[in-house]
């Protein structure tokens, strides 16, 4: 899917329904299960992509994204309408990703395992028809979780610093700093590929 087309779709949905998220939540809290289906339909791709970019692989996307929406389903009655639904949704998603990464980290202590997807192909080994976007995604995956999440939320999802700080529960200054450091890290990782990136 074309990224622009995806963004247009997302933006269109967002423009149409920013306030509607609240009304959908209210309907769901009043017993209308179909409202939850609409919420899922509207936000599932954002959640899936955030997980994908955060984890850097596709293995656990389905499990985690479903966990996210199951949590939302359980906790929606406690939603306080003080922030946007997406902010709340992303916070849940980020927490789920963190949990997953923590599990992987613990697991890797006992069985060291290198994910081939995380390994960048050397510039000289790149095939003629390679996709630079795969290199970028792999480079993002190599960033520490605390840096890549704000970067993805900013550059991929287009959230403001304020929204990111609410999502991650951090000060705006910290977010600003982390996004800069993420970009710096990404620049270093992608330095060997400058020629291909141009």
């Amino acid at each position: 899917m074309n990224k622009n087309k995806f963004n247009e779709d997302v933006q269109a949905q967002t423009i149409l329904t920013l306030d509607d998220d609240f009304s959908l939540i209210k309907r769901f809290n009043n017993g209308d299960e179909t409202a939850f289906r609409t919420l899922v339909s509207r936000h599932k791709e954002k959640v899936r992509n955030l997980i994908y970019l955060t984890l850097g692989n596709t293995d656990a996307i389905d499990d985690i994204s479903q966990d996210v929406f199951v949590s939302v389903y359980r906790k929606l009655k406690t939603f306080r309408f003080e922030s946007q639904f997406t902010t709340w949704l992303y916070r849940i998603t980020v927490n789920k990703c963190r949990d997953h990464l923590r599990k992987i980290k613990i697991r890797s202590i006992f069985s060291p395992f290198t994910n081939e997807e995380d390994t960048l192909i050397a510039p000289e080994q790149l095939p003629d028809d390679f996709d630079i976007k795969i290199i970028v995604r792999q480079a993002i995956a190599k960033l520490p979780e605390k840096l890549k999440v704000p970067l993805i939320l900013k550059d991929f999802d287009g959230l403001s610093y304020q929204e990111i700080s609410e999502t991650m529960g951090m000060e705006i200054g910290t977010i600003k700093s982390r996004i800069f450091r993420a970009r710096e890290g990404l620049k270093k990782i992608l330095a060997p590929y400058q020629k291909e990136l141009l």
Binding site: K3, I152, I179
Partner: protein
């Protein structure tokens, strides 16, 4: 370096359009003059675009299907986990559900209880048999039942059934263990026959009247090895009918003696009416028995095979008649005389009033039903009154001259419950010429050699005086006893019965 980092951070924020106007202006100015800064900004911009242009994941058309299936499973699992982790919640929920169910469908609960009650009744009502097959029933026993309201259930254990009327006039049954000596004060058949001066033929007729009730009475009282006694309330009617028949016979057999004995003459019915009445009573087949067990009391429907029982009683009579032993009858356990009707086993009358005291437990059953027999109420009260008169006059007096003029001694024996028994009284009599029986008859009314009836008011007064003297004597004796044994514990204060 730090300054550089701060500046670079601001450039990063600048391209994100997240700087305030002041910082934005500063950075804009610096960018105009600093080529390196411009390069850095371009580099960051390029990275930003690269990330922004990353391909989104292909959409998953089955994502929602799987999600909602998972939610469904989670829901089921969460309820399961909820109850597994919190047993108290599970118990509370089950209790609540049961309360609601029993509130709106009480028949489930009552049905269950009825079933359990029926099971319990199975145990208590098992092998019920007419009591007569265990103890036999002589004419003396039947007379005792009619006039002393007592019938022996177990001779070895002295267990008796007492059919009585309490102070408020209510009929009641009492199963108790009574020592035989306590019966001595009762009116017995021998004294009754003697008072009436019955000849041999009349005695046989009297015997036959009494024994004609044996089979019927047998069907009214059932016992078993579980110490259960089932009593048919209709037995009260049999008792009344028996008494009426006996009284009618007595008045017929010896009118004079009857008139002497019963100064209050019962309003007896004609022979035809009485026969009809007795027939009516015997025709009632009341299956509703009051079952008295060591643990509980309940009413239950029991079907007694009267034909089989009648034949068995006949066989028993013959065996006893042809034997010298007291109870030669051999009980045949294989015969089933009583069937318990389980279809309607449980009495719905639960409003029992129970009074518990130190030495008794009394159960009042408000809806205690005795089959109504018409036109019997009047005769019963008359008989009761007449029997009371009979007891008063049954006093044995032996007149013995002390050799002094107007001075006599006599021995007194009363059947009254609270009267002193067997004491000797010395009293001064009115001026009586002993040689003239007429003068004696002005005071006493003789029935035979040793039975008299008091007619004298003076003698009654004398008796009262003697009674008071006896009471004083008792008090003095008690006082003496206390003086001799001062450590004797005082009489325990009686506890009031507890009503449940």
């Amino acid at each position: 370096m730090k300054m550089n980092n701060k500046k670079l951070e601001n450039i990063s924020a600048f391209i994100d359009d997240e700087l305030n106007n002041t910082d934005k202006n500063i950075i804009s100015d610096e960018l105009k003059n600093d080529i390196n800064l411009q390069k850095e900004m371009n580099s960051l911009n390029q990275l930003k675009e690269l990330v922004n242009e990353l391909k989104p994941l292909p959409q998953d058309p089955y994502f929602e299907t799987r999600l909602f299936e998972k939610i469904k499973q989670e829901k089921a699992r969460s309820w399961h986990a909820f109850f597994l982790n919190k047993p108290i919640m599970a118990i509370s929920a089950v209790t609540l559900i049961l309360m609601v169910v029993f509130k709106f469908y009480p028949s489930i609960f009552t049905g269950f209880i009825d079933e359990q009650k029926a099971n319990l009744m199975d145990i208590y009502a098992a092998n019920l048999r007419p009591f007569i097959l265990n103890v036999g029933l002589s004419s003396d026993d039947i007379f005792n039942f009619a006039f002393n309201k007592t019938i022996t259930l177990d001779k070895e254990k002295n267990q008796v059934l007492f059919v009585g009327v309490d102070e408020s006039g209510k009929d009641y049954f009492e199963v108790k263990f009574e020592q035989p000596k306590n019966f001595e004060k009762n009116v017995n058949m021998a004294s009754f026959v003697k008072s009436l001066k019955l000849n041999e033929n009349q005695k046989k007729e009297f015997d036959s009247i009494l024994l004609s009730y044996s089979s019927d009475l047998a069907s009214q009282i059932l016992v078993n090895d579980n110490k259960t006694v089932a009593v048919n309330p209709n037995i009260l009617n049999y008792q009344n009918a028996l008494r009426a028949e006996v009284m009618a016979f007595a008045s017929r057999a010896n009118k004079d003696a009857f008139a002497r004995i019963f100064s209050v003459s019962p309003d007896l019915q004609s022979n035809e009416d009485l026969t009809k009445l007795v027939k009516n009573i015997k025709s009632v087949n009341n299956k509703n028995y009051l079952v008295i067990t060591p643990d509980t009391i309940f009413s239950s429907s029991l079907d007694v095979d009267r034909a089989l029982l009648s034949a068995e009683v006949g066989r028993m009579k013959n065996q006893i008649k042809n034997s010298t032993r007291e109870l030669a009858y051999i009980n045949d356990d294989s015969k089933v005389f009583v069937k318990w009707e389980r279809e309607n086993p449980v009495s719905k009358k639960n409003d029992l009033k129970i009074v518990v005291s130190e030495d008794f437990c009394k159960v009042e059953i408000p809806e205690f039903s005795i089959p109504e027999i018409p036109s019997f109420g009047n005769i019963n009260s008359a008989i009761e009154s007449a029997m009371s008169q009979f007891r008063e006059m049954n006093v044995s007096i032996k007149i013995d001259s002390l050799g002094k003029k107007n001075s006599y001694s006599f021995k007194y024996k009363s059947t009254e419950k609270d009267s002193p028994k067997g004491f000797e009284v010395r009293t001064n009599m009115p001026d009586i010429h002993l040689k003239s029986l007429d003068s004696l008859q002005s005071i006493f009314k003789f029935f035979n050699d040793d039975t008299v009836m008091f007619n004298s008011k003076e003698l009654r007064k004398e008796m009262e005086r003697v009674k008071k003297e006896m009471e004083r004597f008792r008090e003095e004796m008690e006082k003496m006893r206390r003086e001799l044994n001062p450590n004797t514990t005082p009489t325990k204060k009686e506890k009031s019965p507890i009503e449940i």
